[in-house]
């Protein structure tokens, strides 16, 4: 049996394990909530991760369409980019798939000489990480952009439309609205 077939066969178990490991990157109290709470509105993080991992795994078995991968990977990264993770930790959950697969197909890999295929598959996972890293940076850049421009986008824009921009900040040097912060 080829590796792909084997993985397809064990899809449910692999995704489940992957999901478990992925949410265990959170503190244990949180992880249990993420695993248990099935309500998609009460638990958007758990839901997004579970949907995303499934979609990603399906795509790994196929041709790795960049668009499709992004559509599943982006929502997960978008969440992790604003949570209390270091950049490495934020994308780390993808590597965990290697661990899951190695453990899951250990026996067959030895018996049926699947190492070549496994190496290939793992480099697909590496590609996933590279995409994730791009997405992570995009999210962070977006956050910095929002931080820098929020005031400009709302207040400043309104003032500019009204032609009032110069009237305002220079007027009172002692108490200045926190437009620059």
């Amino acid at each position: 049996m080829s590796l792909n077939n084997l993985l397809a066969q064990r899809k449910t178990a692999i995704i489940k394990n992957w999901f478990t490991l992925a949410v265990e990157t959170y503190p244990p109290d949180t992880a249990s909530f993420l695993k248990k709470q099935k309500d998609p509105f009460a638990n958007p993080v758990g839901r997004t991760v579970s949907l995303g991992l499934e979609g990603l795994f399906n795509e790994l078995l196929k041709e790795m369409d960049y668009e499709i991968i992004t559509s599943f990977l982006d929502p997960i990264i978008r969440i992790r980019a604003i949570q209390n993770f270091s950049p490495a930790h934020a994308v780390s959950f993808i590597f965990l798939l290697k661990k899951v697969i190695r453990e899951n197909i250990k026996k067959e890999a030895l018996e049926e000489q699947l190492f070549n295929e496994l190496l290939l598959f793992e480099s697909k996972i590496d590609q996933l990480v590279m995409i994730a890293f791009n997405l992570y940076m995009q999210c962070k850049e977006k956050i910095y952009d929002l931080k820098a421009n929020e005031m400009r986008n709302s207040t400043y824009k309104a003032f500019k439309r009204a032609g009032l921009v110069r009237d305002w900040p220079v007027d009172e040097p002692d108490i200045k609205p926190n437009i620059n912060e």
Partner: protein, 550 residues
Amino acid sequence: MKELPNPDEFLSKIDHKPSPTGWMDTPVEIRRGIACHAAKPDRLEYVGFPNPRDWSCFDEDWQLPENWQEILHKGFKERLDRFRSVKIFMDICVRCGACADKCHFFIGSGDPKNMPVVRAELLRSVYRNDFTTAGKILGLFGKKAKKAYGARELTLDVLKEWWYYFFQCTECRRCSVFCPYGIDTAEITIFGRELLNLIGLNIDWVAAPVAFCYRTGNHLGIQPHAYKDMMDFFTDEIEEVCGIRVKPHFMKKKADILFITPSGDVFADPGTFTCMGYMMLFHFLQEKYGLEITWSTYASEGGNFGFFTSHEMMKRLNAKMYAEAKRLGVKWILGGECGHMWRVVHQYMDTMNGPADFLEEPVNPITGTKFENARSTKMVHICEFVADLIKHGKLDLDPSRNDHLKVTFHDSCNPARGMGLLEEPRYVIKNVCNHFYEMPANTIREQTFCCGSGAGLNAGENMELRMQGALPRLNAVKYVHEKHGVNMLSCVCAIDRAAFPTALEYWLPEVDNCGVHELVANALILPGEKKRTVDLRNEPLPGMEDEDDE
């Protein structure tokens, strides 16, 4: 395969992972992106608050007064004697965990200390140590015994934890809905922040609006001439859209009604469109029914960041509403769309600054409806007012002018859980829009999710926190967006209108945000207006332009 490195193990070495033991053993780590900038000294000086100084929460030394523990202990005791709510909430929590997963910050951040029960335990642990007999007795047996009881001393680390987590709560009260004893984390946070303010610990995004509002009448520090200029500009814009020149009244003595709304709507998009909506509505009512509604630059702020500071500061800022109504000699006050403003107006204003015996019991002079529910406070919500007008057929509306919008409605926390304003805005929206879709039931009405930026947390530097907080709300919006093609998230809160555009840009850029009265004004047919080809945002109305070409 054993020798392959396990990424998870490796990462746990470089990343701090909270220990699985009790929360008290997990020291606070103040993070950038989550914490807000500290209040600048001039803000505190202006309103006479203690310990003004330049400091940062990332400093080791917070430059506290030497006897800060004593000040807090005394302040804690004083407040226990003043507020039964907190006293009871300190004693009766059984830690059943019903609230744990109800907080938008917990859901979005995954930080277990954002579980409402833990937020309250931050205070309770010190309460047990300082104010309960058991805490004192167990204290004799050492730290371990105290810890098992959940008591601990107020150390600098505990204080930092207070500061960090009381500024990660938007006082939205969602947890209080699910608590079997009604324990309200908003009360806990209000209490905690009031204590922090005793030693000069506030965030600038709260302290600055407070100082501005005290001085200029509004949070943004806009002086009267700029306020007027901005309104003049709206007048031009409105004329461009519908060919009518509205004439808003300012501080007009003996006007029928004084109108107060958050200043955010006058100075920041997309609230500005809601503000234009008010102006058009008032113009309509004046032209058609002779109703005079006046604005004021002195009382130009509906919101009240004093509420996020201390009860006293809330009262000091709120006093302007009644004072201005009295000075102008109006009959009653009409309040614009705002969240915490309405919590203050509904649940605090009359008690703090009433009785408003110089005003009349509010009656809608156009329909004759008595607003019996506002007969003491004498302040009516604009959605109550407009719903009444629509019900009596007093507005000329063309809802098809909102046909390019598929609208959903976000219940703002305070009107929902501190008032019960649920049906009025929905009634208004359904009458001015043809396409309205509700979000899932456990994310609206009394179970609504916060925008994630309330209670003064709408700063820029804590963007990650705000995005965490907005996730549950926008996740539900995403659902109706994908299911029904919803492209407009309407709301009745100025903080929402400041928070959502940013949060949507990150989470769901396909959806926009507006106030309910922007939708009203889009549909409202002003007497003598020209044919509208654009909406208030100057965006072409589909279908309308074609006819124009003919």
